[in-house]
Amino acid sequence: MERVDWRKVAVAPEEYTRRTVRAFWEDGLWDFATGGALLLMGWWLDVLRQLMSFPIWTWPWPFRGPGQHFDTSWQVSAWSLAAVVGTAVYAWLAWRVVLWLKERWVAPHIGSVRHPFFLRLEPRFLFTYLGLDLASLALLSLLFDWLKGGPHFLSLTIATAFSAAYLALGHTYRLPRYVVLSVLGLLSSVALELNTYPASYQRGAMSAWEVDPFAGSPALACLTFAVLLVGSGVVGLLSVRRGEYGAE
């Protein structure tokens, strides 16, 4: 007599739900939107780095006026407020643009599905994400502190957060390209962060391309993941349009 595997039977309803949730990322359109957000975030962080650096040789745009300079605390507050407003506007616009593109580019191939704005993710995703993020951040911060004399905390926070999020998503919702994106993103970010040669401890980093030996370059971590996300988006969109939906 064939023995019934009750564990598989128990998992079955979750598997159907997982397939629906997976469709949110499968076509790659959200990868483009997230990549764009990361580019903007990298630029925002680079302006912040220029604001905070001492001494300030040139004021960054948009604070460069005709001979008029404001104090740093005012600039940082205004720039932080701009981030909140910018995030809200970008999320609002991205949601509408992505839905519009999904209806035109994806729905004719796999059908149409509407997800809620606040996607209901499995608790397993959250636990995997938190575990991976905290462990990799602690380990890499200690490593950079030992190798470079500074924890590179902000840049490593960005790299590990995105790497852990995409690894957890790839693992929970069976999206192999996210596992590749996560590993490549973390390795590339760490490799770029290790190259502190152009900057020095005395003058720090002079541009987003130079990695400060103490603080690192958060903009570079954003740029790395933005480029990889655009590549991931192309792969996702092509696979869905070629009719490889649900291929694992």
């Binding site: 564990r7 039977v9 739900t17 059908g111 149409s112 599905v113 997800h115 209901r120 649900g246």
Partner: protein
């Protein structure tokens, strides 16, 4: 073996039989993860045939678990499915009961 070592399966008879059918369970489980989905998407996700999907969706609609909307995308007819509030509650209760029973079985 002692009598009390057997799992308590008295709840088995109280499972919602409308949902406890593989095709209808698949439709509801797929729709619980989204706001709405169209006929083609549900075909892809559940792997049901067109006839099966249509028939089981109608049964769920009759029970008040599912809302079916018919519209046109250009000149192409489109059928969109979404779970009602009572459908979501019923599926949540069904899943919780099933998990509890499988837990009692040691699964």
């Amino acid at each position: 073996m002692a009598q009390n070592s057997y799992p308590d399966l008295s709840d088995l008879t109280e499972v919602d039989r409308l949902i406890h059918e593989p095709a209808r369970m698949a439709i509801m489980a797929a729709l619980i993860g989204c706001d709405s989905a169209d006929f083609r998407f549900l075909l892809n996700v559940t792997g049901l045939t067109k006839g099966n999907l249509s028939a089981h969706a109608s049964k769920l609609e009759e029970a008040g678990y599912l809302q079916i909307r018919k519209s046109f995308r250009g000149k192409v007819p489109q059928t969109t499915y979404s779970l009602t509030r009572s459908g979501r509650a019923a599926f949540g209760a069904y899943r919780a009961k099933l998990k509890a029973m499988l837990g009692a079985l040691g699964g």
